[in-house]
Subunit: 340 residues, 2 copies
């Protein structure tokens, strides 16, 4: 299986992405297609140990800037890394895409080149947050800011299939993010979605969950609109950053504290690893007819390597095909009910 | 100045609330009116040092359960602590209310007994989150789940007045919570609100802010709908709880680590204090024609004491009157523009 990687996407530049991709290829036993300006990618590769690996470089000299309008950018720059890598997935030279680049451009490009799964109205970005019980999948994280209730039902179905097929979670439970656990709580969208989720096939609906239930690990999948999901994810990141900074300040406020904290460094490193988003892997764009994994722009080597693993597991579990089969199964049954 | 306190509100019972209120009365130099079942309140008072304090008890034998429909409960139970305390504020026997009870019932009761400020369509709950620069006011935290754009403008104006008048913040800046900083980002509500905030009188609008900007302290006031605000607040609390639990586990995983962590206990206590919501005080219900401070149900003594201080500062700064004056100033000018 060959994974296409957008070698120039991400805040840390191609050296980090290429090194992470090579690491991922070795860890997960996959081949790579690295898309980016050829000289730059080969330069990054020259610092890596690629012995025994099957790596091809696809020249993609055009660069998409963060300020560009996504859909236009992908159309106007067919030789950008995102476009070249997606073409490789489309024509079968690669099985999946991993990109830490402009997430809007990845979404727009995936829609243009791979298309939506039949029956899915809006693809969603699904990402893991760490929890007391391991991790919780949250979707959508920003693809659809104003979904309709039936979009959230599809998010629940896609999230369920994703963690069943890619991570082997048996009978995952789904919660609807709200401002209270009672069925009467929520904004209008949530109140309209609740009965639809309660009746939806293909999911095990637990009911409403609150913001703190995400990290408590009350359910396996938390469904929300892309606006709220994005705000919640970033607020959690912000809380973690504040705690981290406050700890750092208080633990270095004297020589003695600094020394004691230094002795506890292994424990702090373990905490960081337990909670590191890099260990949680990339975020799949679910609903696209193909495997597309979006990595955080801030991804380090480990995060990219992990995203390569997520791409492999998603492809092996045939996540897009399974979503397509559920949608196909639901569609005729809806029609026959209507006809009957 | 006498502060009315709902002596039976809160998860920890009347002993904690009464002790916190007494502590607050002493710290901030105010008188108290404690509303609750008289025997229970006097029992709680008997464990406190009340020498030199002016404390009266208002008997309120009826209890509002957490499962009761708020507006009905306050109407049907005129001798509940919330109703009795609000009556005291209404007829001038007390200047402000502090309650850690059923927040829905506090809101419903405040609307029934004190009413909205003329010109304010929807009262909002405003609360502080800790930030790198001290603290950030966020509103709404759950009163209005589906506001209209002009409600968010009023939230911005009320939040600005609150921290100017109660906390002496000079020229506070306002951010609109969104899924990206660009003006084009946001759900439909945010996109429609952005130009209104940019043109609104009485505020210094900074633009869109993201979830992590709350704890970064990019602005003084973050405005959002009550659904998103509630989810963001609880998600931040959940992230903090997860980090706390992970730290505890890793720092106690061996005898040596436990001993070292024990020596660092003062530092950890400082961190906890830096980030403790109890230090941030209660959350005012802004837009009500009176000072009403909602405390977290989980409030400990320190949180209740702090809320008494917030009540005093809000009353001294005449937050409701200042909001009323801004609304009165805006209304005729809007009409004259319409007439012109």
């Amino acid at each position: 299986m060959r994974i296409a990687v957008d070698a120039v996407g991400g805040d840390h530049g191609s050296a980090v992405v290429v090194a992470g991709a090579i690491d991922g290829a070795r860890r997960f036993g996959v081949e790579l297609l690295l898309a980016g300006p050829e000289a730059e990618v080969r330069q990054a590769l020259s610092s890596c140990n690629t012995s025994g690996l099957d790596v091809i470089v696809a020249d993609a000299p055009q660069i998409i800037g963060m300020e560009e309008q996504p859909a236009q950018a992908v159309r106007r720059k067919p030789r950008s890394a995102i476009a070249v890598a997606l073409d490789a997935v489309k024509d079968g030279r690669a099985t999946a895409l991993v990109s830490a680049g402009h997430s809007g451009a990845v979404m727009a490009g995936a829609l243009q080149k791979l298309g939506r799964i039949h029956g899915i109205d809006r693809p969603a970005i699904a990402g893991y947050l760490p929890s007391m019980k391991g991790k919780t999948l949250v979707l959508d994280l920003g693809a659809v800011t104003d979904p309709r209730p039936h979009h959230l039902v599809q998010f629940a179905q896609m999230g369920t299939i994703y963690i069943e097929r890619a991570f082997g979670v048996a009978r995952p439970t789904v919660g609807l993010l709200s401002n209270g656990v009672e069925p009467s709580k929520g904004n209008q969208l949530v109140q309209e979605t609740f009965p639809l989720l309660a009746a939806a096939p293909g999911i095990d609906f637990h009911g409403n969950v609150e913001g703190n239930d995400i990290t408590r690990g009350v359910v396996d999948v938390v469904v929300t609109d892309g606006f709220t999901g994005n705000v919640a994810l970033k607020t959690a990141e912000g809380a973690a950053a504040l705690i981290n900074e406050t700890m750092r300040r208080r633990l270095t406020s004297s020589i003695v504290r600094k020394a004691l904290a230094g002795l506890l460094y292994p424990a702090f490193r373990e905490v960081r690893k337990d909670l590191d988003y890099a260990e949680q892997g990339g975020a799949p764009l679910l609903g696209i007819d193909g495997v597309v994994i979006i990595s955080h722009g801030r991804s380090n080597e480990r995060a990219i390597a992990s995203a390569v693993g997520v791409a492999k597991q998603s492809a092996e579990g045939d996540v897009p095909g399974t979503i397509a089969r559920l949608m196909a199964m639901l569609e005729p049954s809806t029609e026959s009910v209507a006809a009957g």
